[in-house]
Protein backbone atom coordinates (compact mmCIF):
# COMPACT_ATOMS: atom_id res chain seq x y z
CA UNK A 1 0.00 0.00 0.00
CA UNK A 2 2.83 2.37 0.60
CA UNK A 3 4.17 3.99 -2.49
CA UNK A 4 6.95 1.84 -3.91
CA UNK A 5 10.36 3.39 -3.95
CA UNK A 6 10.86 2.56 -7.52
CA UNK A 7 7.91 4.18 -9.11
CA UNK A 8 8.95 6.48 -11.85
CA UNK A 9 6.19 8.32 -13.52
CA UNK A 10 6.64 10.02 -16.79
CA UNK A 11 6.65 13.79 -16.40
CA UNK A 12 6.80 13.74 -20.15
CA UNK A 13 3.08 13.35 -20.26
CA UNK A 14 2.94 17.00 -19.50
CA UNK A 15 4.47 18.12 -22.73
CA UNK A 16 1.32 19.89 -23.66
CA UNK A 17 0.36 21.44 -20.38
CA UNK A 18 2.69 23.67 -18.36
CA UNK A 19 4.48 21.63 -15.73
CA UNK A 20 3.19 21.69 -12.21
CA UNK A 21 -0.37 22.44 -13.01
CA UNK A 22 -2.21 19.13 -12.96
CA UNK A 23 -5.10 19.06 -15.40
CA UNK A 24 -8.48 18.78 -13.93
CA UNK A 25 -7.60 20.24 -10.55
CA UNK A 26 -10.25 22.41 -8.99
CA UNK A 27 -9.15 25.75 -7.60
CA UNK A 28 -9.55 25.70 -3.85
CA UNK A 29 -11.89 28.22 -2.28
CA UNK A 30 -10.43 31.08 -0.33
CA UNK A 31 -9.75 29.92 3.18
CA UNK A 32 -9.18 31.81 6.37
CA UNK A 33 -5.74 32.08 7.78
CA UNK A 34 -6.56 29.67 10.57
CA UNK A 35 -7.85 27.06 8.15
CA UNK A 36 -4.78 27.50 5.98
CA UNK A 37 -2.51 27.13 8.95
CA UNK A 38 -4.28 24.06 10.17
CA UNK A 39 -4.06 22.44 6.80
CA UNK A 40 -0.56 23.39 5.89
CA UNK A 41 1.19 23.88 9.22
CA UNK A 42 3.57 21.09 8.46
CA UNK A 43 4.64 22.76 5.25
CA UNK A 44 5.15 26.08 6.96
CA UNK A 45 7.15 24.36 9.65
CA UNK A 46 9.55 23.11 7.02
CA UNK A 47 10.14 26.68 5.96
CA UNK A 48 11.00 28.02 9.40
CA UNK A 49 14.68 27.20 9.53
CA UNK A 50 15.45 28.42 6.02
CA UNK A 51 13.57 31.63 6.70
CA UNK A 52 15.61 32.10 9.83
CA UNK A 53 18.71 31.72 7.74
CA UNK A 54 17.56 34.34 5.28
CA UNK A 55 16.57 36.73 7.99
CA UNK A 56 19.79 36.53 9.95
CA UNK A 57 22.43 36.02 7.32
CA UNK A 58 20.97 37.80 4.35
CA UNK A 59 18.54 40.50 5.39
CA UNK A 60 20.21 41.70 8.52
CA UNK A 61 23.50 42.62 6.80
CA UNK A 62 21.53 44.32 4.04
CA UNK A 63 21.12 47.22 6.39
CA UNK A 64 24.75 47.92 5.68
CA UNK A 65 23.83 49.09 2.22
CA UNK A 66 22.65 52.28 3.76
CA UNK A 67 26.20 53.56 3.42
CA UNK A 68 25.33 54.25 -0.18
CA UNK A 69 23.41 57.21 1.20
CA UNK A 70 25.57 58.06 4.14
CA UNK A 71 29.16 59.16 4.43
CA UNK A 72 31.09 56.10 5.59
CA UNK A 73 34.59 56.07 6.98
CA UNK A 74 36.35 52.72 7.32
CA UNK A 75 36.70 51.98 11.00
CA UNK A 76 33.74 54.12 11.95
CA UNK A 77 30.13 53.10 12.37
CA UNK A 78 29.17 50.57 9.73
CA UNK A 79 26.09 52.58 9.01
CA UNK A 80 28.08 55.65 8.17
CA UNK A 81 28.10 58.80 10.17
CA UNK A 82 26.34 61.38 8.08
CA UNK A 83 23.40 61.34 5.73
CA UNK A 84 24.34 62.56 2.28
CA UNK A 85 21.36 61.43 0.28
CA UNK A 86 21.94 60.91 -3.39
CA UNK A 87 25.42 62.42 -3.37
CA UNK A 88 27.18 59.22 -4.38
CA UNK A 89 24.45 58.20 -6.76
CA UNK A 90 24.81 61.51 -8.55
CA UNK A 91 28.59 61.05 -8.57
CA UNK A 92 28.50 57.88 -10.54
CA UNK A 93 25.60 58.88 -12.74
CA UNK A 94 27.60 61.88 -13.90
CA UNK A 95 30.81 59.93 -14.30
CA UNK A 96 31.31 59.22 -17.98
CA UNK A 97 33.75 56.44 -17.19
CA UNK A 98 31.02 54.71 -15.24
CA UNK A 99 28.65 54.64 -18.19
CA UNK A 100 31.41 53.37 -20.38
CA UNK A 101 32.12 50.45 -18.09
CA UNK A 102 28.40 49.91 -17.72
CA UNK A 103 28.13 49.43 -21.48
CA UNK A 104 31.12 47.12 -21.45
CA UNK A 105 29.48 45.06 -18.75
CA UNK A 106 26.26 44.80 -20.72
CA UNK A 107 28.03 43.70 -23.86
CA UNK A 108 30.39 41.28 -22.19
CA UNK A 109 27.64 39.79 -20.03
CA UNK A 110 25.30 39.50 -22.97
CA UNK A 111 27.84 37.77 -25.17
CA UNK A 112 28.77 35.40 -22.38
CA UNK A 113 25.14 34.53 -21.78
CA UNK A 114 24.55 34.02 -25.46
CA UNK A 115 27.25 31.40 -25.69
CA UNK A 116 27.36 29.81 -22.27
CA UNK A 117 23.66 29.20 -22.01
CA UNK A 118 22.87 26.97 -24.99
CA UNK A 119 26.16 25.12 -25.25
CA UNK A 120 25.81 22.98 -22.12
CA UNK A 121 22.40 21.91 -23.38
CA UNK A 122 23.84 20.97 -26.73
CA UNK A 123 26.66 19.06 -25.10
CA UNK A 124 24.24 17.28 -22.78
CA UNK A 125 22.15 16.22 -25.73
CA UNK A 126 25.20 15.04 -27.62
CA UNK A 127 26.39 13.09 -24.62
CA UNK A 128 22.99 11.58 -24.29
CA UNK A 129 23.39 10.12 -27.75
CA UNK A 130 26.47 8.18 -26.90
CA UNK A 131 25.68 4.51 -26.72
CA UNK A 132 28.46 3.20 -24.60
CA UNK A 133 27.89 4.10 -21.00
CA UNK A 134 31.47 4.17 -19.82
CA UNK A 135 32.49 6.32 -22.77
CA UNK A 136 29.78 8.81 -22.00
CA UNK A 137 30.76 8.98 -18.36
CA UNK A 138 34.40 9.39 -19.31
CA UNK A 139 33.77 12.28 -21.66
CA UNK A 140 31.49 13.94 -19.19
CA UNK A 141 33.96 13.63 -16.34
CA UNK A 142 36.73 15.11 -18.42
CA UNK A 143 34.57 17.90 -19.72
CA UNK A 144 33.95 19.44 -16.35
CA UNK A 145 37.59 19.49 -15.22
CA UNK A 146 38.10 23.13 -16.24
CA UNK A 147 35.47 24.17 -13.73
CA UNK A 148 37.88 23.31 -10.94
CA UNK A 149 40.72 25.41 -12.09
CA UNK A 150 41.15 28.55 -10.09
CA UNK A 151 40.80 31.82 -11.93
CA UNK A 152 44.47 32.55 -11.50
CA UNK A 153 45.46 29.31 -13.18
CA UNK A 154 42.99 29.83 -16.01
CA UNK A 155 44.16 33.36 -16.63
CA UNK A 156 47.72 32.10 -16.69
CA UNK A 157 46.84 29.46 -19.26
CA UNK A 158 45.03 31.98 -21.46
CA UNK A 159 47.76 34.59 -21.37
CA UNK A 160 50.41 32.02 -22.08
CA UNK A 161 48.63 30.44 -25.01
CA UNK A 162 47.87 33.82 -26.54
CA UNK A 163 51.35 35.27 -26.19
CA UNK A 164 53.33 35.90 -29.33
CA UNK A 165 55.16 32.62 -28.80
CA UNK A 166 52.14 30.75 -27.58
CA UNK A 167 50.28 27.91 -29.25
CA UNK A 168 47.78 30.08 -31.07
CA UNK A 169 50.37 32.26 -32.69
CA UNK A 170 52.51 29.24 -33.47
CA UNK A 171 49.56 27.84 -35.37
CA UNK A 172 49.07 31.17 -37.13
CA UNK A 173 52.70 31.24 -38.14
CA UNK A 174 52.41 27.72 -39.46
CA UNK A 175 49.74 28.84 -41.89
CA UNK A 176 51.73 31.87 -42.91
CA UNK A 177 49.89 34.52 -40.91
CA UNK A 178 51.90 37.02 -38.88
CA UNK A 179 51.50 36.76 -35.12
CA UNK A 180 48.77 38.78 -33.42
CA UNK A 181 49.33 40.30 -29.94
CA UNK A 182 45.89 39.27 -28.69
CA UNK A 183 46.36 40.50 -25.16
CA UNK A 184 47.11 44.00 -26.28
CA UNK A 185 44.24 44.46 -28.70
CA UNK A 186 40.94 45.68 -27.32
CA UNK A 187 38.99 44.02 -30.10
CA UNK A 188 40.22 40.60 -29.03
CA UNK A 189 39.31 40.90 -25.39
CA UNK A 190 35.67 39.95 -25.73
CA UNK A 191 36.23 36.83 -27.85
CA UNK A 192 39.01 35.82 -25.49
CA UNK A 193 36.90 36.26 -22.37
CA UNK A 194 33.80 34.57 -23.76
CA UNK A 195 35.75 31.61 -25.11
CA UNK A 196 37.42 31.05 -21.79
CA UNK A 197 34.07 31.25 -20.03
CA UNK A 198 32.60 28.70 -22.41
CA UNK A 199 35.57 26.43 -21.94
CA UNK A 200 35.33 26.62 -18.20
CA UNK A 201 31.60 26.22 -17.76
CA UNK A 202 30.29 24.06 -20.57
CA UNK A 203 31.18 20.72 -18.96
CA UNK A 204 29.97 21.62 -15.51
CA UNK A 205 26.75 22.96 -16.95
CA UNK A 206 25.85 19.61 -18.45
CA UNK A 207 25.54 17.98 -15.04
CA UNK A 208 22.23 19.56 -14.27
CA UNK A 209 20.83 18.80 -17.70
CA UNK A 210 22.01 15.21 -17.62
CA UNK A 211 20.29 14.78 -14.29
CA UNK A 212 17.16 16.23 -15.82
CA UNK A 213 17.43 13.92 -18.79
CA UNK A 214 17.32 10.89 -16.57
CA UNK A 215 13.86 11.78 -15.44
CA UNK A 216 12.44 11.37 -18.93
CA UNK A 217 10.65 8.10 -19.32
CA UNK A 218 12.07 5.72 -21.86
CA UNK A 219 8.57 4.71 -22.85
CA UNK A 220 8.01 8.08 -24.39
CA UNK A 221 10.88 7.57 -26.77
CA UNK A 222 9.51 4.16 -27.60
CA UNK A 223 6.14 5.64 -28.28
CA UNK A 224 7.62 8.33 -30.47
CA UNK A 225 9.67 5.86 -32.38
CA UNK A 226 6.65 3.74 -33.02
CA UNK A 227 4.96 6.84 -34.33
CA UNK A 228 7.76 7.09 -36.84
CA UNK A 229 9.82 9.87 -35.34
CA UNK A 230 13.53 9.85 -36.14
CA UNK A 231 16.22 10.90 -33.69
CA UNK A 232 15.89 14.56 -34.35
CA UNK A 233 12.07 14.53 -33.96
CA UNK A 234 12.43 12.50 -30.78
CA UNK A 235 14.82 15.09 -29.41
CA UNK A 236 12.56 17.95 -30.32
CA UNK A 237 9.34 16.45 -29.03
CA UNK A 238 10.47 14.38 -26.08
CA UNK A 239 13.87 15.42 -24.80
CA UNK A 240 13.70 19.17 -24.96
CA UNK A 241 10.27 19.48 -23.40
CA UNK A 242 11.42 17.09 -20.72
CA UNK A 243 14.19 19.37 -19.60
CA UNK A 244 12.31 22.57 -20.24
CA UNK A 245 11.59 23.45 -16.60
CA UNK A 246 15.26 23.22 -15.76
CA UNK A 247 16.21 25.16 -18.86
CA UNK A 248 13.80 28.00 -18.24
CA UNK A 249 14.69 28.31 -14.57
CA UNK A 250 18.33 28.56 -15.43
CA UNK A 251 17.65 31.00 -18.23
CA UNK A 252 15.70 33.34 -16.00
CA UNK A 253 18.35 33.19 -13.32
CA UNK A 254 21.13 33.76 -15.79
CA UNK A 255 19.39 36.74 -17.32
CA UNK A 256 18.98 38.22 -13.88
CA UNK A 257 22.63 37.77 -13.04
CA UNK A 258 24.33 38.27 -16.38
CA UNK A 259 25.68 41.67 -15.40
CA UNK A 260 27.52 40.28 -12.39
CA UNK A 261 30.83 39.75 -14.11
CA UNK A 262 33.41 38.66 -11.61
CA UNK A 263 36.24 41.10 -11.34
CA UNK A 264 39.08 38.73 -10.62
CA UNK A 265 39.15 37.18 -14.04
CA UNK A 266 38.92 40.44 -15.92
CA UNK A 267 41.55 41.89 -13.60
CA UNK A 268 43.99 39.17 -14.57
CA UNK A 269 43.30 39.42 -18.27
CA UNK A 270 43.08 43.13 -18.91
CA UNK A 271 45.66 45.88 -19.15
CA UNK A 272 45.51 49.61 -19.91
CA UNK A 273 45.51 48.97 -23.64
CA UNK A 274 42.33 46.93 -23.45
CA UNK A 275 40.49 49.10 -20.92
CA UNK A 276 38.11 50.36 -23.63
CA UNK A 277 36.48 46.94 -23.99
CA UNK A 278 37.68 45.09 -20.95
CA UNK A 279 36.93 47.41 -18.09
CA UNK A 280 33.70 46.36 -16.41
CA UNK A 281 31.77 47.70 -13.44
CA UNK A 282 33.35 45.32 -10.96
CA UNK A 283 36.92 46.15 -11.95
CA UNK A 284 36.13 49.84 -12.04
CA UNK A 285 34.63 49.69 -8.57
CA UNK A 286 37.61 47.70 -7.40
CA UNK A 287 40.05 50.34 -8.59
CA UNK A 288 38.08 53.33 -7.50
CA UNK A 289 36.14 52.09 -4.51
CA UNK A 290 37.86 49.23 -2.81
CA UNK A 291 41.53 49.98 -3.24
CA UNK A 292 41.12 53.54 -2.05
CA UNK A 293 38.58 52.85 0.66
CA UNK A 294 35.67 54.70 -0.98
CA UNK A 295 33.19 52.13 0.21
CA UNK A 296 30.20 54.43 0.00
CA UNK A 297 30.76 55.00 -3.67
CA UNK A 298 31.16 51.27 -4.20
CA UNK A 299 27.98 50.63 -2.26
CA UNK A 300 26.01 53.11 -4.34
CA UNK A 301 27.10 51.47 -7.56
CA UNK A 302 26.39 48.08 -6.04
CA UNK A 303 22.84 49.07 -5.25
CA UNK A 304 22.37 50.29 -8.78
CA UNK A 305 23.60 46.97 -10.15
CA UNK A 306 21.29 45.07 -7.82
CA UNK A 307 18.33 47.10 -8.96
CA UNK A 308 19.11 46.41 -12.59
CA UNK A 309 19.41 42.70 -11.85
CA UNK A 310 16.12 42.61 -10.03
CA UNK A 311 14.32 44.37 -12.87
CA UNK A 312 15.86 41.96 -15.35
CA UNK A 313 14.80 38.87 -13.45
CA UNK A 314 11.27 40.09 -12.96
CA UNK A 315 10.93 40.89 -16.65
CA UNK A 316 12.46 37.61 -17.73
CA UNK A 317 10.12 35.75 -15.43
CA UNK A 318 7.12 37.58 -16.81
CA UNK A 319 8.04 36.73 -20.36
CA UNK A 320 8.72 33.15 -19.44
CA UNK A 321 5.41 32.78 -17.73
CA UNK A 322 3.49 34.20 -20.67
CA UNK A 323 5.41 32.25 -23.25
CA UNK A 324 5.95 28.81 -21.81
CA UNK A 325 4.33 28.86 -18.43
CA UNK A 326 7.45 28.36 -16.36
CA UNK A 327 7.78 30.87 -13.62
CA UNK A 328 10.04 31.24 -10.66
CA UNK A 329 7.06 32.11 -8.53
Amino acid sequence: MSAPDTVQLPPGTRTAAPPGRAPGRIRPRRRTVRQVLRRDWQLYSLAVLPLLFFAVFRYLPMAGNVIAFRRYHPGGSIFGDRWVGLHYVRLFLEDSTFWHVFTNTLVLGGLTLLFTFPLPIVLALLLNEVRTRWLRRFVQSISYLPHFLSIVVVAGIIVESLSTDGVVNQALRAVGHSPIPFIQRPEWFRPMYVSSEVWQTVGWGTILYLAALTTIDGNLYEAARIDGAGRWRQTWHVTLPGIRPTMMTLLILNIGTFMAIGFEKVLLLYNPLTYPTADVISTYVYRVGVVTGSFSYAAAIGLFESLVGLVLVVSANLVSRRAVGTSLW
Partner: protein, 307 residues
Protein backbone atom coordinates in the same frame (compact mmCIF):
# COMPACT_ATOMS: atom_id res chain seq x y z
CA UNK B 1 -5.28 2.73 -3.69
CA UNK B 2 -2.18 2.66 -5.72
CA UNK B 3 -1.29 -0.43 -7.59
CA UNK B 4 1.61 -0.64 -9.85
CA UNK B 5 2.11 -3.05 -12.64
CA UNK B 6 5.42 -4.73 -12.67
CA UNK B 7 6.76 -4.36 -16.14
CA UNK B 8 10.26 -5.57 -16.76
CA UNK B 9 12.87 -3.36 -15.21
CA UNK B 10 14.73 -1.29 -17.76
CA UNK B 11 18.37 -0.76 -16.88
CA UNK B 12 18.37 2.95 -17.49
CA UNK B 13 16.17 5.78 -18.54
CA UNK B 14 16.75 7.81 -21.61
CA UNK B 15 16.60 6.83 -25.18
CA UNK B 16 16.41 3.09 -25.78
CA UNK B 17 18.84 1.91 -28.38
CA UNK B 18 17.48 0.97 -31.75
CA UNK B 19 18.87 -2.12 -33.29
CA UNK B 20 19.85 -1.04 -36.77
CA UNK B 21 21.23 2.50 -37.08
CA UNK B 22 20.13 4.24 -40.23
CA UNK B 23 22.48 6.03 -42.58
CA UNK B 24 21.69 9.45 -41.18
CA UNK B 25 22.12 8.01 -37.75
CA UNK B 26 25.60 6.82 -38.56
CA UNK B 27 26.66 10.18 -39.96
CA UNK B 28 25.35 11.83 -36.86
CA UNK B 29 27.27 9.43 -34.67
CA UNK B 30 30.42 10.20 -36.57
CA UNK B 31 29.98 13.94 -36.22
CA UNK B 32 29.12 13.53 -32.58
CA UNK B 33 32.27 11.53 -32.05
CA UNK B 34 34.38 14.25 -33.61
CA UNK B 35 32.82 16.98 -31.51
CA UNK B 36 33.14 15.04 -28.30
CA UNK B 37 36.73 14.16 -29.07
CA UNK B 38 37.47 17.84 -29.56
CA UNK B 39 35.83 18.59 -26.22
CA UNK B 40 37.94 15.98 -24.50
CA UNK B 41 41.17 17.20 -26.05
CA UNK B 42 40.50 20.86 -25.31
CA UNK B 43 39.61 20.22 -21.70
CA UNK B 44 42.10 17.49 -21.00
CA UNK B 45 45.20 19.04 -22.51
CA UNK B 46 45.70 21.79 -19.95
CA UNK B 47 45.32 19.24 -17.17
CA UNK B 48 47.81 16.84 -18.59
CA UNK B 49 50.14 19.80 -18.93
CA UNK B 50 49.54 20.85 -15.34
CA UNK B 51 50.00 17.29 -14.14
CA UNK B 52 53.27 17.05 -16.02
CA UNK B 53 54.45 20.31 -14.57
CA UNK B 54 53.72 19.20 -11.05
CA UNK B 55 56.30 16.47 -11.48
CA UNK B 56 58.83 18.39 -13.52
CA UNK B 57 62.09 19.95 -12.61
CA UNK B 58 62.18 23.68 -12.14
CA UNK B 59 64.47 24.56 -14.99
CA UNK B 60 62.40 22.83 -17.63
CA UNK B 61 59.29 24.57 -16.45
CA UNK B 62 60.99 27.96 -16.48
CA UNK B 63 62.21 27.60 -20.04
CA UNK B 64 58.86 26.35 -21.23
CA UNK B 65 59.93 22.89 -22.22
CA UNK B 66 57.30 20.91 -20.37
CA UNK B 67 54.41 19.80 -22.50
CA UNK B 68 52.59 16.52 -21.97
CA UNK B 69 55.18 14.56 -20.08
CA UNK B 70 57.16 15.51 -17.03
CA UNK B 71 60.79 16.42 -17.55
CA UNK B 72 63.25 15.93 -14.76
CA UNK B 73 60.77 13.93 -12.74
CA UNK B 74 60.86 14.81 -9.07
CA UNK B 75 58.50 14.84 -6.14
CA UNK B 76 60.06 17.75 -4.27
CA UNK B 77 57.05 20.00 -4.13
CA UNK B 78 54.68 17.16 -3.34
CA UNK B 79 56.98 15.95 -0.62
CA UNK B 80 57.32 19.39 0.92
CA UNK B 81 53.61 19.98 0.96
CA UNK B 82 52.55 16.50 2.02
CA UNK B 83 55.09 16.29 4.82
CA UNK B 84 53.85 19.46 6.44
CA UNK B 85 51.54 18.58 9.31
CA UNK B 86 49.70 21.86 8.88
CA UNK B 87 48.71 20.71 5.41
CA UNK B 88 47.03 17.62 6.79
CA UNK B 89 45.35 19.49 9.63
CA UNK B 90 43.97 21.90 7.10
CA UNK B 91 42.92 19.12 4.79
CA UNK B 92 40.97 17.59 7.63
CA UNK B 93 39.34 20.95 8.16
CA UNK B 94 38.31 21.07 4.54
CA UNK B 95 36.71 17.65 4.78
CA UNK B 96 34.90 18.59 7.97
CA UNK B 97 33.62 21.90 6.61
CA UNK B 98 32.53 20.21 3.38
CA UNK B 99 30.64 17.38 5.04
CA UNK B 100 28.88 19.47 7.65
CA UNK B 101 28.22 22.29 5.24
CA UNK B 102 26.80 20.06 2.54
CA UNK B 103 24.55 18.34 5.04
CA UNK B 104 23.15 21.55 6.44
CA UNK B 105 22.75 23.09 3.02
CA UNK B 106 21.04 20.02 1.66
CA UNK B 107 18.51 19.83 4.45
CA UNK B 108 17.66 23.52 4.37
CA UNK B 109 17.49 23.71 0.61
CA UNK B 110 15.39 20.59 0.21
CA UNK B 111 12.87 21.66 2.84
CA UNK B 112 12.47 25.13 1.45
CA UNK B 113 12.37 23.98 -2.17
CA UNK B 114 9.66 21.51 -1.32
CA UNK B 115 7.58 24.17 0.37
CA UNK B 116 8.06 26.50 -2.57
CA UNK B 117 6.94 23.83 -5.00
CA UNK B 118 3.48 23.66 -3.49
CA UNK B 119 1.54 25.99 -5.71
CA UNK B 120 -1.51 25.99 -3.52
CA UNK B 121 0.29 27.36 -0.52
CA UNK B 122 -0.79 30.77 0.72
CA UNK B 123 2.07 33.19 0.73
CA UNK B 124 4.19 31.11 -1.58
CA UNK B 125 5.01 34.01 -3.85
CA UNK B 126 6.23 35.95 -0.85
CA UNK B 127 8.43 33.04 0.22
CA UNK B 128 9.94 32.80 -3.23
CA UNK B 129 10.42 36.54 -3.38
CA UNK B 130 12.27 36.49 -0.06
CA UNK B 131 14.77 34.11 -1.56
CA UNK B 132 15.11 35.71 -4.98
CA UNK B 133 15.59 39.18 -3.53
CA UNK B 134 18.72 38.01 -1.77
CA UNK B 135 20.21 37.00 -5.09
CA UNK B 136 20.68 40.61 -5.92
CA UNK B 137 20.95 42.48 -2.68
CA UNK B 138 23.53 41.72 -0.08
CA UNK B 139 25.19 43.71 2.62
CA UNK B 140 28.78 43.50 1.55
CA UNK B 141 31.82 42.17 3.30
CA UNK B 142 31.97 44.45 6.30
CA UNK B 143 28.37 44.18 7.54
CA UNK B 144 28.62 40.41 7.15
CA UNK B 145 31.86 40.40 9.08
CA UNK B 146 30.38 42.45 11.87
CA UNK B 147 27.36 40.15 12.02
CA UNK B 148 29.35 36.94 12.19
CA UNK B 149 31.66 38.49 14.70
CA UNK B 150 28.77 39.78 16.74
CA UNK B 151 27.17 36.35 16.83
CA UNK B 152 30.38 34.99 18.27
CA UNK B 153 30.89 32.62 15.36
CA UNK B 154 34.39 33.69 14.48
CA UNK B 155 37.03 30.98 14.73
CA UNK B 156 34.45 28.23 14.66
CA UNK B 157 33.10 25.83 12.09
CA UNK B 158 29.78 27.69 12.06
CA UNK B 159 31.30 30.75 10.47
CA UNK B 160 31.90 28.66 7.39
CA UNK B 161 28.74 26.59 7.14
CA UNK B 162 26.07 28.97 8.27
CA UNK B 163 26.45 32.23 6.35
CA UNK B 164 26.22 30.48 2.99
CA UNK B 165 23.92 27.64 3.87
CA UNK B 166 21.37 28.17 1.12
CA UNK B 167 22.20 28.96 -2.47
CA UNK B 168 19.18 30.52 -4.07
CA UNK B 169 20.31 29.22 -7.40
CA UNK B 170 20.24 25.63 -6.21
CA UNK B 171 17.02 26.31 -4.36
CA UNK B 172 15.16 27.37 -7.44
CA UNK B 173 16.48 24.52 -9.54
CA UNK B 174 15.37 22.04 -6.92
CA UNK B 175 12.00 23.71 -6.76
CA UNK B 176 11.60 23.27 -10.51
CA UNK B 177 12.37 19.60 -10.12
CA UNK B 178 9.83 19.11 -7.38
CA UNK B 179 7.23 20.90 -9.42
CA UNK B 180 7.73 18.50 -12.28
CA UNK B 181 6.83 15.53 -10.16
CA UNK B 182 3.25 14.46 -10.73
CA UNK B 183 0.79 15.51 -8.11
CA UNK B 184 -1.14 12.22 -8.17
CA UNK B 185 1.49 10.37 -6.25
CA UNK B 186 1.44 12.75 -3.37
CA UNK B 187 -2.29 13.05 -3.44
CA UNK B 188 -2.65 9.32 -3.36
CA UNK B 189 -0.31 9.08 -0.43
CA UNK B 190 -2.24 11.82 1.34
CA UNK B 191 -5.46 9.96 0.77
CA UNK B 192 -3.77 6.99 2.34
CA UNK B 193 -3.34 9.08 5.46
CA UNK B 194 0.29 10.18 5.13
CA UNK B 195 1.24 13.55 6.55
CA UNK B 196 3.41 16.13 4.84
CA UNK B 197 6.59 14.92 6.46
CA UNK B 198 5.85 11.37 5.48
CA UNK B 199 5.11 12.28 1.90
CA UNK B 200 8.29 14.23 1.66
CA UNK B 201 10.42 11.50 3.13
CA UNK B 202 8.84 8.43 1.64
CA UNK B 203 7.43 9.54 -1.67
CA UNK B 204 9.17 12.62 -2.96
CA UNK B 205 12.77 12.13 -1.89
CA UNK B 206 13.17 8.62 -3.26
CA UNK B 207 12.04 9.93 -6.62
CA UNK B 208 14.48 12.79 -6.48
CA UNK B 209 17.73 10.94 -6.24
CA UNK B 210 19.10 12.59 -9.35
CA UNK B 211 18.50 16.13 -8.20
CA UNK B 212 19.66 15.39 -4.69
CA UNK B 213 22.84 13.90 -6.03
CA UNK B 214 23.32 17.00 -8.13
CA UNK B 215 22.81 19.28 -5.15
CA UNK B 216 25.22 17.25 -3.08
CA UNK B 217 27.78 17.65 -5.81
CA UNK B 218 27.19 21.39 -6.23
CA UNK B 219 27.30 22.19 -2.55
CA UNK B 220 30.18 19.86 -1.78
CA UNK B 221 32.31 21.32 -4.54
CA UNK B 222 31.46 24.84 -3.44
CA UNK B 223 32.52 24.16 0.12
CA UNK B 224 35.55 22.24 -1.01
CA UNK B 225 36.85 25.12 -3.07
CA UNK B 226 35.86 27.91 -0.74
CA UNK B 227 38.57 29.87 1.01
CA UNK B 228 37.19 33.33 1.49
CA UNK B 229 34.92 32.74 4.48
CA UNK B 230 37.61 30.84 6.31
CA UNK B 231 40.19 33.47 5.52
CA UNK B 232 37.88 36.18 6.78
CA UNK B 233 36.58 34.62 9.95
CA UNK B 234 39.47 32.49 11.19
CA UNK B 235 42.47 33.96 12.93
CA UNK B 236 44.27 30.74 13.61
CA UNK B 237 46.33 28.63 11.22
CA UNK B 238 44.97 25.38 12.58
CA UNK B 239 41.44 26.33 11.55
CA UNK B 240 42.15 27.18 7.94
CA UNK B 241 40.99 24.84 5.20
CA UNK B 242 43.56 23.54 2.80
CA UNK B 243 42.59 26.10 0.15
CA UNK B 244 43.87 28.95 2.31
CA UNK B 245 47.03 27.02 3.06
CA UNK B 246 47.73 26.43 -0.61
CA UNK B 247 46.81 29.94 -1.61
CA UNK B 248 49.22 31.31 0.95
CA UNK B 249 51.89 28.90 -0.21
CA UNK B 250 51.54 30.15 -3.75
CA UNK B 251 51.72 33.76 -2.64
CA UNK B 252 54.73 33.11 -0.46
CA UNK B 253 56.59 31.15 -3.07
CA UNK B 254 55.84 33.24 -6.10
CA UNK B 255 55.25 36.69 -4.68
CA UNK B 256 58.12 38.92 -3.82
CA UNK B 257 57.83 38.55 -0.10
CA UNK B 258 60.83 36.38 0.51
CA UNK B 259 63.82 38.03 1.96
CA UNK B 260 67.12 37.05 0.51
CA UNK B 261 68.05 34.13 -1.66
CA UNK B 262 65.88 31.06 -1.75
CA UNK B 263 67.11 27.52 -1.44
CA UNK B 264 66.87 25.09 -4.32
CA UNK B 265 63.80 23.53 -2.80
CA UNK B 266 62.11 26.87 -2.59
CA UNK B 267 62.92 27.54 -6.22
CA UNK B 268 61.46 24.21 -7.23
CA UNK B 269 58.36 24.91 -5.22
CA UNK B 270 57.93 28.33 -6.76
CA UNK B 271 58.06 26.79 -10.21
CA UNK B 272 55.29 24.26 -9.85
CA UNK B 273 53.35 24.99 -6.66
CA UNK B 274 50.35 26.18 -8.65
CA UNK B 275 50.30 22.94 -10.60
CA UNK B 276 50.62 20.86 -7.45
CA UNK B 277 47.81 22.83 -5.86
CA UNK B 278 45.51 22.09 -8.76
CA UNK B 279 46.28 18.38 -8.61
CA UNK B 280 45.80 18.14 -4.86
CA UNK B 281 42.46 19.91 -4.87
CA UNK B 282 40.97 18.35 -7.99
CA UNK B 283 42.01 14.78 -7.36
CA UNK B 284 39.61 14.04 -4.52
CA UNK B 285 36.68 15.34 -6.49
CA UNK B 286 37.61 13.21 -9.46
CA UNK B 287 37.70 10.21 -7.17
CA UNK B 288 34.34 10.93 -5.58
CA UNK B 289 32.36 11.89 -8.65
CA UNK B 290 31.98 8.40 -10.15
CA UNK B 291 30.17 7.35 -6.99
CA UNK B 292 27.69 10.12 -7.38
CA UNK B 293 27.30 9.62 -11.07
CA UNK B 294 25.32 6.44 -10.70
CA UNK B 295 22.56 8.34 -8.96
CA UNK B 296 21.97 10.20 -12.15
CA UNK B 297 20.70 7.00 -13.65
CA UNK B 298 17.64 6.88 -11.49
CA UNK B 299 14.81 5.85 -13.68
CA UNK B 300 14.56 2.27 -12.73
CA UNK B 301 11.06 1.05 -12.79
CA UNK B 302 8.83 2.51 -15.39
CA UNK B 303 5.24 1.90 -15.55
CA UNK B 304 1.83 3.30 -15.16
CA UNK B 305 0.30 4.22 -11.90
CA UNK B 306 -3.30 3.18 -11.70
CA UNK B 307 -5.52 5.29 -9.65
Amino acid sequence: MVTVDAPPIQPRAGRPRTRRPSQGSRTFNAVNAVILTAVVVLTLYPFVNILARSFSEEHYIRSGQVNLLPKGFNLTTYRTVLSDSTFWTNYGNTVLYTVVGTLISLVLTTCYAYVLSKKHLRGRTLLVGIAVFTLFFNGGIIPNYVLVSGLGLRNSLWAIVLPNAVSVFNLLVMKAFFESLPAELEEAAAVDGMGTYGILLRVVLPLSKAIIATMVLFYAVAYWNSWFSAFLYMDNTSLFPVTVYLRNLIAGATGGTNEGMASDTQLQIAANIKAVTVVLTVLPILLVYPFIQRYFVTGILLGAVKE
